[in-house]
Symmetry: C2
Subunit: 222 residues, 2 copies
């Protein structure tokens, strides 16, 4: 079984894990504690329309700030105060990446690193691809390190050299924490009041939720 690491673009026809640590992947993972499904959308008007139609709650952000008419931001901490059947979540980058995949699609991050790795190993036929979402088309260190944490649970498989590099980078957990806290994304979130979210997103293996995206909806794998 091969394990590959990609940036933004998915190349797999088998199984992919979308990693957007700050914060889409973490919010989706934690939302599935209290919701049966999460519907990811690109635009906030689309979110409002789907939410009205499905009588769903709605969460999202623009430039990290909660939008008017929304029940929560794209925040793993805020999201846990809500519950219901369906949550509509605006997350433009994550949604675009998942919709562009031609494979089974899981969602991974630090909080469910081990669980998503184990599920991937069970579901994949010959390749597990980990896809870093990045930020505005640029490499984001939190996604590289989140990917490394996931892949560190797959080390007995056939890792690509890029996948190996990510595992090497997460050996020292205090350096990992420091790098994520200092990241561009973390700084932006801290400036608008979400520093606690960044710290939450670093908590490793606190959830066994494995979100799977299929037919425009994300549900927990049982």
């Amino acid at each position: 079984m091969k394990v590959n690491l990609s940036f933004e673009k998915s190349h797999s026809n088998d199984l992919s894990i979308m990693v957007d640590v700050l914060r889409a992947s973490t919010t989706i993972t934690m939302a599935l504690n209290h919701f049966k499904e999460v519907i990811p959308v690109v635009e906030h008007m689309e979110a409002l329309n789907i939410a009205r139609e499905k009588e769903a709650l709605i969460a999202g952000e623009r430039r990290g700030a909660t939008l008017e008419g929304f029940d929560a931001g794209n925040s793993p901490i805020e999201i846990q105060k809500l519950s219901g059947k369906t949550l509509v979540l605006t997350t433009s980058n994550g949604t675009r990446i998942m919709e562009g995949m031609n494979s089974k699609v899981l969602v991974g991050c630090f909080t469910n690193a081990r669980a998503v790795a184990m599920a991937a190993r069970n579901l994949a036929i010959e390749e597990i691809e980990v896809v870093m979402a990045g930020v505005e088309g640029r490499f984001a260190i939190e996604d590289f390190l989140g990917a490394g944490e996931i892949i560190s649970n797959l080390q007995n498989l056939d890792l690509s050299e890029y996948a190996q590099a990510a595992v090497m980078a997460v050996q020292d957990k205090s350096l990992v924490k420091n790098a994520v806290l200092k990241s561009r994304s973390a700084k932006r979130l801290s400036e608008i009041g979400f520093k606690k979210d960044v710290e939450f997103c670093l908590r490793t293996n606190i959830s066994t939720n494995v979100p799977q995206f299929h037919d425009k909806s994300i549900k927990k794998i049982i």
Copy 2:
């Protein structure tokens, strides 16, 4: 001063360091112990023509094997047995990358990591760009780790997140050694009898040679 890490393509107008650990960067660095200049070329016929014209020695490889009519392979160990004014070296990937740069161009690897970092800091105006050569268009772990070793000497500057990731990956030197020895490039070189070259290329800070590519020729910065 910014420090950026790139793959294959150079984006800098200021200063770039070309990193092709196995073996072009290392061979060039060591060749400058015994040669005044190294002329890198893409094709072996071009190498033969320039060598004839300049009465130069000639080194190179195709798929890692020494070519007929050449004085040595692209080998940092073999190259040190030769000496002269000019060495013509065929190294297609490294040559193409250096010729594509619009910046001052240095050559770096493990053997001159600290020296090339210090020289870059002196020569750059506002940006040091480290460019991983890769292998046949693919990420090569030896170049990522060589880049990390170079950048670890520049940590008080403004490192991009990708540059930081490379530094994080080289914290544990025994993991670095193991990853390079197991790399695709190392396996290929070992199969054709150059395992000692791979080990040599891992020796860190054994040289203060800083090769600079300018006007089709590489000379040591004094």
